[in-house]
Amino acid sequence: MDTKPYMQDRAAEEFFSRLSEGKFQSTRCRGCGRVHYPPRVVCPECLSGEMEWVDLPCEGILLAFTWQEAAIRCRKPEVLGLVELEGVGNVFTRVDAPYEDLHIGMRVTFSTWTSPDGLVLHQFRPVGNT
C-alpha cells in the first residue's frame, strides 16, 4: 500500500529528494534574493521565475509543539512542532525529543528521519541534545 504523500508539484519532489541526500534546502530568487519556504517556481516578491536551491538555516526557535494521536505513516504518537527559521519563515516538522522535554522558545537544530515506509523527512531536536 502506497502511503507516500502526494508530491503535489515539482518543487516538492525536488525538496524531498534533496532531503533524502541530507540536504535541507529551498529556493532563493535570483532576481531579488528572497529565500522561500516552501520552495517556489515563481517569486511572490518580484515575480521572477529564476530560482536557485540554497541551504536553509539548520538552527531555529521552537514556536509551538504538540503530538498527534493518529496519522498516516507516523503510527505511534509523533511529536510535531513549528520551528521559526530566521529570515525564512515557519517550518512544520517532526520533533526528535519527548514532548515533556520541550518548551516554547528553545533553540532546535535540524536532522533527518526516515519513516517506516522509507520517506526521508526533516526533524529538529533541542540544541545540545545529541
Binding site: P5, P38, Q68, A70, A71, I72, G89, N90, F92
Partner: protein
C-alpha cells in the same frame, strides 16, 4: 440596491443520518420553502456545497436538486471553500438579489460522512478516504501524516495559552458552557451535561486539546431561503441581512510566516461587516461563532471584538457570554455541542440567529434579540465571512 431577507430556515437534527445526503437536502429545502411560504416554482436561484470531506463526491449537486424539486433557476452555484462554503453561497446569492438579477434563492447543504468507527474498524477499506483527507494539506504538511487540522489548532491554542498565562480550566470551561447551551436545543447532537473535570480527564488528542474540547464530525443538513422585499410573505418574521463581508489571509492551513494564533482575516471581516451594517459590536445581542475547538472559540470571541485580547476566558467565567450576559454567544451549543457537519455549519449558525431574531428560539431565546452576527471560517481560519442580521423594524 435592494434589501435581502432570510424568509425561511430549516435544519435536520445534528447527529447521524441514514438518508442519502441528497434526500436529506431535499427535506430541509422543502421545510425552508414552507417556512418562507414559497413554492419551488417561485425560486429563482439555488446553491449548495459538496456532501462532505470524506463523503462520496457527486458532481453538480445544485442541478440535481433543481431537477428533484422542479426549480427553474436563473442562478446556480456549487461552492467548495471548506467551512466557508455555504456562507460564501449565501453571500453571492445575496449580491444577486441586491442587484435585482433574481428575487429569491435557496441555499442548502447536506453532509453525511463515513462514521469514524467504521474507518477505524476497516482502515484499509477506507484508506482512499484517509488519503483524501490527507490531500487537503500541502506536501510539506501532509508528509507528516496530517489527516485533520488538529495539530495546527493545538499549536495555536498552546501559543494563546502561553501568551496570556491561561490554565487548562480556562479553556475547558467554554466547552462546558457550550454543552449547557446545547441542552436547551432539541436538535443538538449532545444531550448529556458536562463538567470541567470530565473535559480535563478526557484524553488529550493533540495537546493541549482534550477530546471533549474538539468538535466531532457529524451528519446534518440545513437550508435558508433568501428573498427580496416583493417575495416576503410574512413581514413580522422577516430577518434582514444587514451586511456580509469576507476577508482572507495569504495562508493555506498553517501559516509559513508570522504568528499562528492571530487569524487577522477575522478582524478584517468583522470590521467590514459592522461598518456596512452601521452597528457597533456592543449592539450585537446574539452571535454564532465558528469555533471548532474550545481554545479557538475563545480566540474567535476576541478577534470578533466582543472582548479584548486575553480576556475571553474571564468573560466566559463571569457569565458574560451566556443567557443574561453582555452578548449571547453560540446559543445553539456551537460546533462543540450542537455538532459540526462542517459544510452545513454556516447554515446552522444562520438558522439559529434567525430563530433568535424572530423570537422563535424557545428555551434558548435571548429576550428582545434584535441584532445578530454569524461568523464562519475555512481551512485553519485562513478566510472568514461575517454576516450581520437584524429584525425588521415596524
Amino acid at each position: 440596491m435592494k434589501e435581502v431577507y432570510v424568509a425561511g430556515v430549516a435544519m435536520a437534527d445534528v447527529g447521524r443520518h441514514i438518508l442519502d445526503p441528497h434526500e436529506l437536502g431535499a427535506r430541509v429545502c422543502a421545510e425552508a420553502l414552507r417556512d418562507a411560504g414559497l413554492l419551488p416554482r417561485e425560486v429563482e436561484g439555488i446553491a449548495t456545497t459538496p456532501h462532505g470531506y470524506m463523503a462520496d463526491f457527486r458532481r453538480f449537486p445544485s442541478q440535481r436538486m433543481a431537477d428533484y424539486l422542479g426549480i427553474t433557476a436563473g442562478f446556480m452555484m456549487d461552492v467548495d471553500s471548506g467551512g466557508n462554503s455555504s456562507t460564501a453561497a449565501v453571500q453571492v446569492a445575496c449580491d444577486r438579489i441586491r442587484l435585482g438579477r433574481i428575487s429569491s434563492c435557496l441555499v442548502y447543504a447536506a453532509q453525511r460522512e463515513v462514521p469514524k468507527k467504521e474507518v477505524q474498524k476497516d482502515v484499509l477499506g477506507h484508506f482512499h478516504l484517509i488519503r483524501a483527507a490527507n490531500s487537503l494539506y500541502d506536501t510539506y504538511q501532509a508528509a507528516y501524516g496530517v489527516i485533520s487540522p488538529l495539530p495546527f489548532y493545538a499549536m495555536a491554542v498552546q501559543r494563546y495559552m502561553h501568551k496570556y498565562g491561561l490554565e487548562p480550566e480556562d479553556v475547558a470551561r467554554v466547552a462546558v458552557l457550550l454543552r449547557e447551551h446545547a441542552l436547551r436545543h432539541p436538535q443538538a447532537a449532545y444531550k448529556e451535561p458536562l463538567t470541567v473535570e470530565e473535559v480535563l480527564l478526557s484524553p488529550l488528542v493533540s495537546p493541549p486539546i482534550h477530546r471533549l474540547e474538539s468538535s466531532e464530525m457529524h451528519d446534518g443538513a440545513a437550508a435558508v431561503v433568501l428573498v427580496s422585499e416583493e417575495l416576503l410573505r410574512d413581514r413580522s418574521r422577516a430577518v434582514r441581512i444587514a451586511a456580509v463581508a469576507e476577508a482572507h489571509d495569504p495562508t493555506n492551513f498553517l501559516p509559513y510566516r508570522g504568528e499562528i494564533d492571530e487569524f487577522p482575516c477575522v478582524e478584517r471581516a468583522v470590521r467590514a461587516a459592522l461598518a456596512e451594517s452601521g452597528y457597533r459590536v456592543e449592539e450585537v445581542d446574539v452571535a454564532e461563532v465558528y469555533g471548532a475547538f474550545a481554545g479557538l472559540e475563545l480566540i474567535m470571541y476576541e478577534r470578533l471584538g466582543f472582548f479584548p485580547r486575553g480576556e475571553a476566558p474571564a468573560a466566559v467565567r463571569e457569565g458574560r457570554t451566556t443567557h443574561g450576559g453582555d452578548v449571547l454567544l453560540n446559543p445553539s451549543g456551537g460546533r462543540l455541542s450542537l455538532g459540526h457537519p462542517a459544510y452545513v455549519t454556516p447554515l446552522l449558525e444562520i438558522v439559529e440567529v434567525v430563530r433568535q431574531l424572530r423570537g422563535e428560539a424557545g428555551e434558548r431565546q435571548r429576550p428582545g434579540a434584535a441584532v445578530g452576527l454569524v461568523h464562519t471560517e475555512q481551512g485553519f481560519i485562513n478566510g472568514s465571512i461575517v454576516m450581520v442580521l437584524d429584525r425588521e423594524m415596524s
